[in-house]
Symmetry: D2
Subunit: 356 residues, 4 copies
């Protein structure tokens, strides 16, 4: 941490910073510039004081943090990439898994048809919302536990793992009974109570980036989960909010590539939410594979024009099959497996997650 | 709602839109432009279908909503402004209340000293965090229930109402026992489970705008609370996230003025979080009064340089007294009351909230 | 400047940074942290090398600049505020001048009527566009030199100074003949050729902040002008572009307050462009006065509903008179003069600019 | 265009809108909702009035434009993609051309070495800045005409086309003598005088997206050039400015895909400026190829660590050769040509541009 003093800082101001640093067990290096004093604060491993400790002192102009504030999820902490595998899917390993399914579980027919279709293409994971975070209280809020039951049955019938969103600590025990992977949505990326709660389970977590979360905040949200003991985390870039509303959000593929440098966790891309336009889902899926993502999540619906939510970005079965075909050569270039081999998908009865 | 068809839309595409509209009880007006068909969807009062219903249909280019999606909190619904009064404070009435206090409750001495100081200036409401939403899991997370106890005792000792943040549905029953007003922080503005939970209490709610929430999303978050029966809501602009990090956030005072047009709810400004810089708190407080806000919330601490969080934006007692003095003539121009008169502050023993 | 090396930097990497610093006449302080080396680069006064010099070196992780990159416009360079006075207006002095007028000069009647109206209220400066930066090539582009002639005649007839936008170096010599103050619009804030060209004149410049310019970039744009010898610069906050399009732009009044700390140049606010809504112009004008701005610029038109551009944010004469009346007590609180006294407005025949 | 009236609009307000529409030769459809009147304004082909005409009228709540405001550059106007070919490069045709070279031309050795290296890999176009738009006036501003001479000689020596930035109308006649393609930088994307000036030449133009330009504004900037008669335009996505500064800018590949739908012009990606980090250039180049871009522009320098500008994002020859190799299979998947065939590169003596 570098503390820059204001030009008019006096000796007592500087001594106050030094004293505070020493109280926290740090060493201090002092540099005298022509106009200002700089103090380098060197903390013992693992116990850097908060930046606030110094920013609040009088005559301190600025404090710059040098080391990363996240630890468990960082590449410095674990250089080799984590492989999160559960059901028959592997993130960060030899597969390029697709998580697919409707925005919301709407009916038995809808979710069973979708599961059967996905199975036919070798897609390993079925998604479907039971509790929906809708901007307006007057929009469809999901079918709740009934949706969880349907999702679980549809997944099990086809040997697919199931992924669903958790919006509330209070629903968590129930959802854990049904789901193979817990999704934390964008709007809850900094719902710290919820992060801690899923961190205390042993379920794989799909953590979506907040609408306006920096890469560092995204990693710190993952660190919240990790700090509770659960390192089975897959990060999901789903578009960030920018000034431009030509697309629903702006898909930050540069951020995906940067994440792969900074963390050992797998990173997937959700091109459906990232763009909000059906026609852009396939191009961005190809780009996600090319940039180095570890998988994608796509909305698919038997009849998108009848969907109760997000129909405009959902693919029909035909459009999804086309995307799948477009994607295959890109996944091949990376020597990954897009289609689940028949031997693996039946072999894993229980949900197991592990990181290398 | 206006549905614009793509230029190549055919008769069956148009009929599909019309059929869907009729299913939802709407009437349809059809306009033929030179290149495109437009369909005006007119819903019966109070049951406009979701925009998704039409966006998902084939050959639909765009859907534009005409009426506002929030109802209970809108000025159209209630033209006269709401007055939220509880403890001895009034938002939207004849006062310009200040909510002040430390970011976190840290000790008995700290919060009691602060309460006594605020009382001496006629400030009606004491804030203090018990559960803190910190970006990193390794930063100070608040003292929990012990902080609530101290806050309550300090408030009661001086006749001040107390305001504190709720981060979790599970903590809510406990917090309701101690607090006069429940704060929903920026990061939880779209934690819909939490919004519904506070909406089911009868406590006044201070709802902070999300870091990247549009004005409409902000009002819909308030609508979530209102839809559960609790209309004792005060909105708080606390800075939005933009490209510019010269200040911590960008204080959107134009948005405050727009909110006053769109909603009958009171709106306050938090210049401490909006700027993150001590020196900008007083100028923005004056501007908030001038633009038409209904109050402010300010961080104050007996020793900002010792604060466990947010010290760099906290005012010392001296700086706060100075702000208070600067603010007075601006509040006077609006014929509002800044300093609580001695008669009112003792007179209200119980917590009462009502809207005109 | 602080250079942080990557954790795996070796001695030769470090020596390369040091050598580069010495080549630029700098001294170097080296600090050894537990994980990384930090190098403080201390430049002799006034010749700090570009940040690029170090960022490009291998094993350099990050370079943080400590001192400000702008000099002539900074408060450190000149602690007392500049007063820019010309025609009968004073920015940064004892007045709170309003620049008012239509978006575009459209006709003799329009601009003469407006000038007479403004004069009647004691407004010192008349604005009007002759060359208009329109997003589409098919929209009204301004009347060109004919507009300049009308503007000048209208201004002179009433003893008002005139302000107009320069969009092109090639038009500059012509515009200099007519205008008292040259406006650089948002879209040209980083048109460096144009900045240098106006910097080579002796006319006061009204520099508008770019749509997505940071405070530092804004000050560096002013520094471009100043570096050519022209320090008669007034900065104008006119709203920045953010994710929220409830208002046309987001008016950054916190940025105005910060600018007043960082630079000695006067700063004004343009609430018309900042919000794009007539009804928000008066509230933000009051807030601009309260936050410490040195004046405002407002669009006014005899018949806003007939305006060829920006009608939706233009005030009618009645609405402007109302704004003027609302503003007066706020300007009084700062002991500034809103209405030009009759003696000064006729007394200044020539255009003179000077900074204290 | 749809005009929504305010709920309290009266008959005369509505008649005023209708009258205005008729004055502009439009027809009007009127729809009566439960709360509001909507007026559909239908213009004769090619002469839609500005949105301002209606927004400025009293009791108008909102005006929504239905048709696109750009014409010449739209896919509706020209469904088949344009092919821009000049020197030996083809954009939008059967090649995937790379524009490569240093940020600034610094010396004869530097630019000749780079040209020879690029030629060896079959790269068709050499870039190099002669006039540099630097944020600070104190940073290296380019070598000017000397740089142009060197760039031209280096290009011609190797049979490469040359691309350089124009920052000023006044430099344009000189630059036209040297360059094969004129670059308009981000900061000048809405320098309308400059756009018109390059539109009046017959040189191919590389138009970079502004830091905060929407897709529509980007296309309208291209329309400015096209409206002067020059349709030899290649669009360049180079990252937009967002809240996140983990990367210098955010590369909007979803926007690239959307542009390919909306316009017939070729679109390239500049991953160097989009990310500002050397390590992210190759991943984003692959993603650009996968998403459907028509080429890329990359900064390469013989000794990035000695570069006078942008060294931190410039690739060394080794790193560029590696990128080239990584890119090849992705370009192959699209059946495009990455490496210039030896026969074409010598065959084109003159600079010719044409669109299909």
């Amino acid at each position: 941490m570098i503390v820059t003093m204001k030009p008019d800082a006096q000796l007592p101001d500087i001594e106050l910073v030094i004293e505070r640093a020493l109280q926290h067990g740090c060493r201090v290096h002092r540099s005298q510039g022509d106009e200002r004093i700089l103090l380098g604060i060197l903390a013992p491993a693992g116990c850097l004081p908060s930046i606030d400790v110094f920013e609040a002192l009088p005559c301190v102009d600025r404090v710059v943090r040098i080391s990363t504030p996240y630890k468990l999820v960082s590449r410095e902490h674990q250089p080799e990439g984590s492989v999160i595998h559960f059901a028959s899917a592997q993130f960060g390993g030899e597969q390029f898994p697709i998580i697919a399914g409707p925005c919301s579980v709407e009916s038995e027919a809808q979710i069973f048809e979708t599961a059967a279709f996905l199975k036919s293409l070798g897609v390993p994971l079925l998604r479907g919302g039971a509790f929906k975070p809708r901007t307006s209280p007057y929009e469809f809020q999901g079918l709740g536990e009934e949706a969880l039951r349907l999702l679980r049955r549809a997944g099990s019938a086809q040997g697919l793992g199931v992924v669903t969103e958790v919006m509330s600590e209070q629903d968590l025990p129930m959802i854990v009974e049904y789901a193979d992977m817990l999704q934390i949505g964008s709007r809850n990326m900094q719902n710290f109570a919820l992060l801690k709660a899923v961190g205390a389970t042993n379920k794989p977590v799909l953590l979506k980036r907040g609408l306006s979360a920096t890469i560092q905040e995204f990693l710190l949200a993952a660190e919240y989960i990790a700090s509770q003991g659960n390192l089975h985390i897959v990060l999901c870039e789903r578009g960030i909010r920018t000034f431009d509303n030509s697309t629903r959000n702006t898909c930050d593929l540069g951020g995906v590539s940067l994440l792969k440098e900074l963390t050992h966790l797998p990173v997937v891309v959700d091109p459906s939410h990232a763009t909000g336009r059906r026609s852009l889902v396939a191009p961005l899926s190809r780009a996600a594979a090319a940039v180095g993502a570890d998988g994608i999540m796509v909305e698919v619906h038997p009849m998108p024009e009848e969907a109760l939510s997000d129909g405009q970005q959902s693919l029909s079965f035909g459009a999804f099959a086309d995307l799948h075909q477009q994607l295959a050569p890109y996944v091949n270039l990376r020597a990954l497996q897009l289609r689940l081999s028949p031997t693996t998908d039946a072999a894993v009865p229980a949900i197991v997650a592990s990181s290398k």
